[in-house]
Amino acid sequence: MSIDRSRLPLAGPEPRFAFPEIRRRRLSNGLDTWTAVHREVPLVSVLVIVRAGAAFDPADRPGLAAITGDLLDEGCGDLDALALHETLGRLGAQLDTEVGADAALVGLTTLERSATPALALLSDMIARPRLEAADFGRVRDLRLNRLLQLRDMPPAVAERVFTQRLYGAHPYGHLPIGSDASLGAMGADEPRAFHGRMYDPSRTTVIAVGNGSYGGHAALADAIETAFGAWPADHDGRVLPDPAALPIPPGSTELVIVPREGAPQSELRIGHVAVARTSTDYHALVALNLVLGGQFVSRINTNLRERKGYTYGARTSFEFRRGRGPFALQASVQSDATADAVREALSELRAIRRERPVTAEELELGRAPLTRGYPRGFETAEQIGRAAAQLALYDLPDDYFTTFVPKVLALTPEDLTRAAATHIDPSRFLTVIVGDRSTMGAVDDLGLGEPMTVEANG
């Protein structure tokens, strides 16, 4: 057969896809268990979500939630840190802890045959970590060393300055790792107190995704119940206030330069505080972001990379959280193109709100990953677990996954342009540039005001 190369082949009818079913069981101690069956390989993937993220750090102790999360695997129950890791290693388990603004996530993927002992260890880590002073001192030093190293990493410097200036004293105004001053002053009893206050079955969801041969939903839920069922709930009935709900002070709208002498590129952040995950414009904003800067063929990347060659890649993102998360454009651009790159970026960010509204064609291209590409996000047990975690973290309804594609398909180009006009406000932009002032061009002519200088170590 000879191929018709005069045009691209059309896609056939869309394949059927059903999102894997999630079943729930609430244990008597208040802990939620969610399960999904996945048949691919003999692995079980477990994700523990504890609503104990960096937003819960006390005002004078940024970094407390993160170091507490980091200490969970430094010994638990009868095992010290080395014995715990020896056991995890022999079970073929992979452990992965991350503490974000809203929650601590502890992920564990293990061979199916070791799921029961691995779950028991995971439960000990979450509910009964040792949090001993010697381990605290060692881990704190490692984190201080990390902070020292981050001073020389432009993306980390930009992220920290941007976050601080956007949110000020709000609980979202610091990175989870915290600061030298805070970690330096922290006592070993503080993670213990934080754990006692924040880690409770009523604030925890355990999601397990595994092979059907393990026994399906009931067997997975039973295994979680066996491991976590004896974790006593805190019965004083306190409901902790959600720090994300606190009012956010008006953010900085400055042009901030963090000097990095001789830097071959400038690291950029442009943006402002935007919306919470619960926004009714969520679907429109996700699609809008894909048009604007969320994928390779977006406006921003096409302009800054494929047309101008200023950068290896530029992107935008709305970070959706329980409270209002940031909207940001980020890129590393060659130093001598800094002013031009910022000008182009600002022009794209402004234009999509009115002068160059989203077209029907752009909407189709932008939403394709969300609709036609949707099944791709549910291929592995870990992906299914991560997707389900969104429901737990943001209190989303049970039918969230089945209604997602229809909601995205119902969007019009006008919905996206309106979402841009409502939620992207160039008059509120904070711009951060980490780079060499002497080579970056006329950044004072960008209409962003007089640049102010902030030191990387400040």
Partner: protein, 434 residues
């Protein structure tokens, strides 16, 4: 646990491999070209990777970006270049597999008519910016270049890194692109794997339809892989914009899939995989003289290097770090691994293998793995034998491999903060990279 597949070599030499997996309605299309930075010439480094970028900029019958049509149908697309090979892949909804094959075959057969100076200039700038972002403006970013330059002589194909030298990239010419394409981007030098929700018979038929008419192309000549073993220790020092000094120790090691390759991978796990590994436990956990430690067997087609990388804790000199590593290494070379260490590392290896079976596409997924086995070993069906290299390794074979390879001949690179050359190992010679 093997990955079932069918394999057919087309008349023009293109290997076609198909693996069915109907769990998720997606198909991975994965193309390997057996060309990488090892096929470049000194003075023209970085070219294979720059070329990879041009493969996304359009071909004769679709003369515009390759991302757009594939993203439009809900697919993802990417590619990568290393020393040994270049890969390109799409993961598309099962209804769009023909689009991916159309596009892969068009750029395999008809790239050059769409090539222009403007595209070339643009992607050269993008690649120079990739280099700035990932190497020049990143702490310790020049360490890798310094290491390979010291491990291999100037005319050896591993003497430079895949990203190449900035001045070489600036000197690249459009004519080089044409010659490179004609030599290496031909069916004879390529392998196509499809994995996912597609019937094998249909996949083969489609591959024949789309790729069967393309000219085979010449047999690329092989590259010279000779190098002189390192006689003793070469000590180097590099100054960088960093806070904490870091030590890199690197030894020549056997090639990917050669004898001792899997053993050295396991040795790296015993030495520095996780908190109970010997080096982490000693340097980071107990003595607290290092803040990070890693070891790896960097397996490559023509020859590998084994490395240990340690970042000093504040106030600690690299000499102290080096001595602590030397003590642990000597202990390992004396007696080899303990049974419980080997048991842990084998459980981890098994889990890593299963992990790679979880996805049909992308970097390291099943389609990529089938192509790797096919290109390097001439058979896609190597998964079980690959795993067996690990499960059959015993304490004695790890011990023997370490004794054979981790000897006195090595490169010791100290990376220290600007103006603090005294923190390097004694007698280190300055290296200059940019």
């Amino acid at each position: 646990m093997d990955i079932p597949f069918i394999h057919q070599k087309l008349a023009n030499g293109l290997d076609v491999i198909v693996h069915e997996d109907h769990d998720c309605p997606i198909v991975a299309v994965n193309v390997w070209y057996h060309v990488g930075s090892k096929n470049e010439q000194p003075g023209r480094t970085g070219f294979a990777h720059l070329f990879e970028h041009l493969m996304f900029e359009g071909s004769q019958h679709h003369d515009s970006g390759y991302f757009r049509p594939l993203q439009e149908v809900g697919g993802v697309v990417n590619g990568s270049t290393n020393a040994d090979r270049t890969n390109y892949w799409e993961v598309v909804p099962a209804n769009a597999v023909e689009l991916a094959l159309w596009m892969e075959s068009d750029r395999m057969g008809y790239l050059l008519p769409a090539l222009t100076d403007a595209k070339f200039e643009n992607q050269r700038n993008v690649v120079l910016n990739e280099r700035r972002q990932n190497y020049e403006n990143r702490p310790y970013g020049f360490a890798g270049m310094s290491l390979v330059a010291a491990l291999y002589p100037p005319d050896h194909p591993y003497h430079w890194m895949t990203i190449g030298a900035a001045e070489d990239l600036k000197a690249a010419r459009l004519d080089d692109v044409r010659a490179f394409f004609q030599t290496y981007y031909r069916p004879r030098n390529a392998s196509l794997a499809l994995a996912g929700d597609i019937e094998a018979d249909r996949a083969i038929a489609l591959a024949i339809d789309y790729f069967g008419d393309l000219d085979a192309g010449p047999e690329p000549r092989s590259v010279d892989t000779r190098y002189t073993p390192l006689a003793g220790e070469t000590r180097l020092v590099l100054q960088d914009r960093i806070e904490l000094p870091r030590l890199y120790l690197a030894w020549h090691a056997p090639a990917l899939f050669a004898e001792d390759d899997a053993e050295l991978d396991l040795v790296s796990e015993v030495l520095a995989g996780g908190k109970t590994s010997r080096l982490y436990r000693s340097l980071v956990y107990e003595q607290r003289i290092a803040t990070e430690i890693a070891a790896s067997q960097g397996s490559r087609e023509l020859g590998s290097f084994f490395q240990i990388v340690a970042t000093a804790a504040p106030g600690r000199a690299l000499a102290e770090v080096e001595q602590a590593i030397a003590r642990e290494l000597a202990r390992f070379l004396e007696t080899g691994p303990e049974a419980r260490e080997l048991e842990r590392c084998l459980a981890q290896a098994e889990a890593h293998f299963l992990h790679r079976l979880q996805t049909v596409g992308g970097f390291g997924g099943k389609s990529d793995q089938l192509n790797a086995y096919n290109v390097y070993l001439g058979t896609p069906g190597y998964f079980d034998r690959d795993l067996a290299r690990y499960t059959n390794a015993g304490a004695a074979s790890l011990h023997r491999a370490a004794m054979r390879w981790l000897g006195a001949g090595r490169v010791a690179l100290s990376v220290v903060p600007h103006g603090r050359a005294a923190l390097a190992l004694e007698g280190s010679q300055p290296v200059s990279v940019s």
